[in-house]
C-alpha cells in the first residue's frame, strides 16, 4: 500500500479482519506512524500533543506483520511489471497495489508564494513548523476561511498570534453554511478576537526574503509575519496516472472500489466515486470497508456514497452542517431559528417531510439526531412541532434509548449503536478506553464521546468512569484537563471558564476551585472575581457559627513580642472580642469579631493576615532550636521565620501547615506537617505529606541537605509542585500518596536544573503578585465589602 494515512490504514485494519493471506507492505512519505489528521488543529491549539493523536503505534504494525517503510516516497508504478519504485531507487514487487495517496494542499496562484514564512497546514511536520514559528505578538494571516483555515486560525491565536482570516468568498465555510450561518460564524470568530476579511482575493505575498504582508486584488494589503495557506485540497493522483488508471479529478473507482486496473485499488481522498471526491474522514472509512471485502475476494458489498456531516472543531464555536445547504425552489421547505444575542442559528431543509439538510451554529447538541434523520430519511410529519428543539429532558439515557441500533454513533469511524452494544456485551467492556480500543468509536474527531459514554453507561454491566474524575457537574472536565485548557485557552476569569466550558452558572464547589486554579496558573495575574470566592476569602476572616468572624494575625514562627501582645490585648478589649485563644499553631485567635469591625481590627493590630481562613499558607511552627535549647543542633526559629516569610500570602490547593524543628526530638511536630524541616547535626531533613488532623500520617522524607538554604529551596520546590499538580481540596498527604513520593522527588529535587528553575520562577512570580490580604482595608474591593447596609444611612446618604 502506498500511503500511511487514516484512510489507508483503516482499510488495512478492515482487510486484516478478513484474515487474508497477504504479505502487507506500507509506504509512508511522512516519518510518523498513522495518526489522526483531523486532530492536527488540536495539536496546533495546544490541546493535544503529537503522541495523543497516534492511531496505530509501531507495535500494531509489528503485531500484524506489516512491513512499514517510513520516510520513503514512491515515485513510480509499473502496472505491467507490477513493481513500485521508491525515491531511494528501491524496487518492490506487488500482486495487489493499494493507492491511498490522499491529497495535497491546493496552492492558489499567488505571486511570490514560496517566500519564507508561508506555510501550509496539512501534516504533522507542517504543524510542528507552525508551532515553532508562532509566537506571541506575531501577525498571522490565514488564507482560506474553510474548516481547516478557521481551525488553523484559532490554533495560531492560542499560540499568541494576532490572526486575520482572508477568504475569497463572501461566506465563511461556504461549502457547509448558507450566508446567514456564515454570518453567525464570522461574528463568533470576531468575538474570539480573530479578524475575518471576506470576498478578498490574495494576489501577492509581500516582503524581501521573508514575508511581510499580503496584497489583495484591487490593491489593498495587510501586514503579516506569518502566512498559512488553507485554501483547500486536491487529490494526489500522480501515481494513479503513472499506473495508467482512469483519472478525472481523482482516481476513478466503481461501487466495489475497483479502479480501471483489476490489480490496483485506491481508497481515500485520492479517489473519485460517482463523481465525488471526499475530503472528510467518514466516507473514507466506509470506502475502506468495501474495498477490504473486494480485495480479499469477498466482493459483494458496494459503496453508495456517504451522507456527509461536518463539525468545526474549535472549542466554544459550535458549527455543524450536513446535506443540502442552499435554499432551493424545488418544493423544499426551510425551517429556521435565529437568536442573535445567543449567537444561535438553526436551519433545517425538508423535502416531503424528510430531512435533506441541516445547518447549526452556536448549538450543535442535537446534531446526531439530525444526522440520523438525514441518513434514515425518516418521515418527520408527526414531529413537526419539535423539529428545532428535540426533547431536552433530564434523562441522560433517553438520548441513546431513542436511537435505533443501526444509527451511526461515530460518523468518523462508521460505528453504529448496535455495534457498540454488541462489543460491550461480547468483550465485557466497561470503560471508555476499552470501548475506543475495541470499536474505534470516538477516536476520530471526538464529537461523539458524550454519546458513547452515555451508551456505555446505559449498557455496560460494570460501567466504570475513567479514573480522571470531573470537577463537578457545572464544568464537566477533570482538573488535570481544566488546567491544560485554561492555560492553552488563556482564560483568566471564573465566569469566562463557566461560560465557555461549563453551564455558565457554576456552584460553590467549582467556583472556589476555578478561582484557585486561575490564581495559580497565572501566578496571581488573573481576573479576580470575589463572587466566586467563599465568604472567608471575600473578607479575609474565618466565619463562625453565629456569623461573626475570627481574626488570626501572622506571628511568624510563633515568635511574638510584648508590644504585639499589648496591641492584641487592646484590640480584644476595644472590640469586645468574646474569646482570645492560643491556637494549636502557635498563634493567637480573636473570636467573635463583627464583619464591619474587621478593617478597623486589622488596622489597630498593625500585623499582617495569618491566612487562617483560607486554603493557603497557614504558618510555620517552630521550636527554640540552637538559640536557647540545650539539645538544639539547628537554628529552627529563624529558619522557620524565613520559610514563613518566603511562602506567606500564597494560595494552595488546601490549607498548608509547616513546622521546623532544631533536633530530631521534634518538639514542634514537623513530621506531621505538610512540609517539615527536621534539623540534625550538620544537615536538614526535608519531609512532606505529614498530617495530624482527620488523618494522622508521618511525613515522607523528600531529601536530606546540608545547608539551610538548600532546605528552604527543597521546601519551595515541593510547595510549587503541589500547587501546580494537586486537585483543589487535596491535602499534601493525599497528594503525596496518590502521586508517590518517588515521582514527587523525581520532578522536584531531582528534576533537571531547567525544570527546577521554572518551578522557582513561577513561585517567584506568584509571590510578587501576592500581598497581605488585610491591606485591603485601605483599598476596598467594593464600597460595601464589610458593610451591613442600613437604608437611610451611610450608603444612601
Amino acid at each position: 500500500m502506498v500511503g500511511n494515512g487514516m484512510a489507508g490504514v483503516a482499510c488495512v485494519e478492515q482487510i486484516l479482519r478478513h484474515a487474508p493471506k497477504f504479505q502487507i507492505t506500507i509506504f509512508g512519505d511522512e516519518t510518523h506512524v498513522n495518526y489522526n489528521r483531523i486532530l492536527l488543529s488540536s495539536v496546533l491549539a495546544g490541546e493535544k500533543s503529537a503522541d495523543d493523536i497516534v492511531l496505530n503505534g509501531l507495535e500494531w504494525y509489528e503485531k500484524n506483520n506489516i512491513d512499514l517503510r517510513l520516510g520513503l516516497r514512491i515515485v513510480d508504478v509499473d502496472p505491467v511489471a507490477k513493481i513500485v519504485t521508491g525515491d531511494d531507487g528501491s524496487i518492490t514487487a506487488f500482486d495487489k497495489l493499494l493507492l491511498a495517496t490522499g491529497s495535497m494542499p491546493l496552492i492558489p496562484s499567488i505571486e511570490d508564494v514560496r517566500k519564507d514564512g508561508v506555510f501550509v497546514f496539512r501534516n504533522l511536520d507542517d504543524t510542528r513548523q507552525l508551532l515553532e514559528r508562532a509566537r506571541g505578538g506575531l501577525k498571522a494571516v490565514v488564507i482560506g476561511g474553510g474548516l481547516l483555515g478557521l481551525e488553523a486560525a484559532r490554533g495560531l491565536q492560542i499560540q499568541g498570534c494576532d490572526v486575520t482570516v482572508v477568504h475569497l468568498m463572501e461566506t465563511l465555510m461556504e461549502r457547509q453554511l448558507d450566508p446567514t450561518g456564515g454570518g453567525y460564524l464570522a461574528t463568533k470568530m470576531n468575538q474570539m478576537g480573530i479578524t475575518v476579511l471576506l470576498g478578498l482575493s490574495t494576489t501577492k505575498v509581500l516582503g524581501n526574503g521573508h514575508v511581510s504582508g499580503v496584497e489583495f486584488k484591487g490593491g489593498g494589503s495587510i501586514a503579516a509575519d506569518l502566512v498559512v495557506i488553507a485554501a483547500g485540497i486536491r487529490p494526489n493522483v500522480t501515481l494513479g496516472e503513472k499506473a495508467g488508471l482512469e483519472i478525472k479529478r481523482g482516481i476513478v473507482v466503481n461501487d466495489y472500489m475497483e479502479t480501471s486496473n483489476p490489480d490496483i485499488f485506491a481508497v481515500g481522498e485520492c479517489v473519485q466515486h460517482r463523481g465525488v471526491c471526499y475530503g472528510l474522514v467518514a466516507p473514507l472509512i466506509d470506502q475502506g470497508k468495501i474495498l477490504a471485502a473486494t480485495i480479499t475476494g469477498n466482493k459483494g458489498p458496494i459503496y453508495e456514497g456517504t451522507v456527509l456531516g461536518t463539525k468545526l472543531k474549535i472549542m466554544g464555536v459550535d458549527v455543524f452542517s450536513a446535506g443540502e445547504i442552499t435554499d432551493k425552489v424545488d418544493g423544499s421547505e426551510v425551517i429556521r431559528y435565529e437568536d442573535p444575542s445567543l449567537g444561535i442559528y438553526k436551519k433545517l431543509t425538508l423535502k416531503n417531510n424528510r430531512l435533506s439538510g441541516v445547518i447549526l451554529v452556536g448549538d450543535t447538541s442535537d446534531s446526531h439526531n439530525y444526522m440520523d434523520w438525514l441518513r434514515s430519511q425518516k418521515d418527520l410529519s408527526a414531529m413537526r412541532r419539535q423539529l428545532l428543539f428535540p426533547d431536552g429532558s433530564g434523562d441522560p439515557g433517553l438520548d441513546v434509548a431513542q436511537m435505533s441500533d443501526n444509527v451511526t454513533v461515530c460518523g468518523c469511524m462508521g460505528v453504529s449503536k448496535g455495534m457498540i452494544i454488541q462489543a460491550i456485551h461480547e468483550k465485557g467492556l466497561c470503560t471508555m478506553g476499552q470501548l475506543k480500543e475495541h470499536t474505534r468509536a470516538s477516536t476520530g474527531c471526538g464529537s461523539c464521546t458524550g454519546l458513547c459514554q452515555s451508551l456505555l453507561k446505559a449498557v455496560a454491566r460494570d460501567f466504570q468512569e475513567e479514573t480522571k474524575q470531573t470537577m463537578c457537574k457545572c464544568v464537566p472536565f477533570s482538573e488535570d484537563n481544566l488546567r491544560e485548557i485554561l492555560r492553552s485557552q488563556r482564560l483568566k476569569s471564573v465566569q469566562e471558564v463557566l461560560d465557555i466550558y461549563g453551564n455558565g452558572v457554576g456552584c460553590e464547589v467549582c467556583k472556589p476551585a476555578l478561582s484557585y486554579m486561575l490564581d495559580m496558573l497565572w501566578c496571581g495575574d488573573h481576573d479576580e472575581d470575589r463572587s466566586a470566592r467563599f465568604i472567608n476569602d471575600r473578607v479575609h476572616a474565618n466565619i463562625q457559627k453565629d456569623g461573626t468572624f475570627s481574626v488570626v494575625p501572622r506571628i511568624r514562627g510563633g515568635v511574638t513580642s510584648p508590644d504585639e501582645l499589648r496591641r492584641i490585648a487592646d484590640v480584644a478589649d476595644k472590640y469586645k472580642v468574646r474569646m482570645v485563644k492560643i491556637t494549636g499553631s502557635q498563634r493567637i485567635d480573636l473570636l467573635g469579631v463583627k464583619k464591619a469591625d474587621l478593617p478597623k481590627v486589622w488596622a489597630d493590630l498593625g500585623m499582617p493576615s495569618g491566612q487562617a481562613y483560607t486554603k493557603g499558607i497557614r504558618m510555620v511552627k517552630t521550636c527554640v532550636g540552637t538559640e536557647f535549647c540545650r539539645f538544639g543542633v539547628q537554628d529552627s526559629t529563624s529558619t522557620g521565620i524565613e520559610l514563613e516569610r518566603r511562602l506567606e500570602n500564597l494560595f494552595t490547593p488546601h490549607k498548608l501547615k509547616m513546622g521546623v524543628v532544631g533536633c530530631p526530638r521534634n518538639c514542634a511536630e514537623a513530621t506531621v506537617k505538610d512540609i517539615g524541616l527536621v534539623g540534625q547535626e550538620g544537615s536538614w531533613q526535608v519531609v512532606v505529606g505529614g498530617a495530624a488532623g482527620k488523618n494522622v500520617r508521618k511525613a515522607d522524607l523528600l531529601i536530606t541537605v546540608e545547608t539551610t538554604e538548600q532546605a528552604l529551596d527543597a521546601a519551595s520546590l515541593f510547595l510549587q509542585y503541589y500547587r501546580e499538580n494537586a486537585n483543589y481540596l487535596e491535602r499534601t498527604y493525599d497528594f503525596v500518596e496518590r502521586w508517590g513520593i518517588e515521582k514527587v522527588r523525581k520532578e522536584t529535587i531531582y528534576a533537571p536544573e531547567a525544570a527546577k528553575e521554572a518551578l522557582r520562577e513561577r513561585l517567584r512570580r506568584s509571590k510578587e503578585h501576592s500581598s497581605d490580604a488585610w491591606l485591603e482595608r485601605d483599598t476596598l474591593r467594593t464600597a460595601t465589602q464589610f458593610v451591613q447596609i442600613t437604608p437611610g444611612q451611610e450608603v444612601l446618604a
Binding site: 460553590e508 470575589r530 466566586a532 460595601t784
Partner: protein, 141 residues
Amino acid sequence: MSSRTEWIQVAYCDDIPLREGREVVIGNRSIAVFNLGGKFLAVDNRCPHRGGPLADGIATGESVVCPLHGWKIDLQNGSVQRPAEMPACIKTFATRVEAGTLLLEISKLSSCPPAKVPATWSEGDSPEESKERPHEDLRFS
C-alpha cells in the same frame, strides 16, 4: 392578616456587586439581597437550618449556598433545594429598580415570623450526615 406593604429604598444598585449578596437591615429585620445581573432577589438573611447569614453565601444561578453548612436555598421562592425534600422555607421580598436605586417591598407589620425548623429536623441532627452535601470540606476550621 391584613398586611399593608410599602416600597423602601435600600441601596444603590452599584453597592451590591454582581453575583454577590449583601445584608440589608431594616428595623429588626435582616435581609439578604443578591445582584444576579439585571435582576435583584431578596430573602430573609437567615438559613432555615442554623440561621446562617445567607448574604455571605456563594450564589449559584438563582440559588444561594449557605456559608455555614452548605444548605442551598432558592432565591426565587425561598424553598430549600438541598437537603432534598426539606419542607422549610424562608421569606422572599419583591424588588424593583428605580434610577439606579434598589427598592424592597416590606410589610408594614414589623418582625417577620421566626424561620420554622421542620419537625423532621430536630436540633442536634446535622445536615452533614445527609448525603446531599457535596463537599464536607467546605467547613472551614
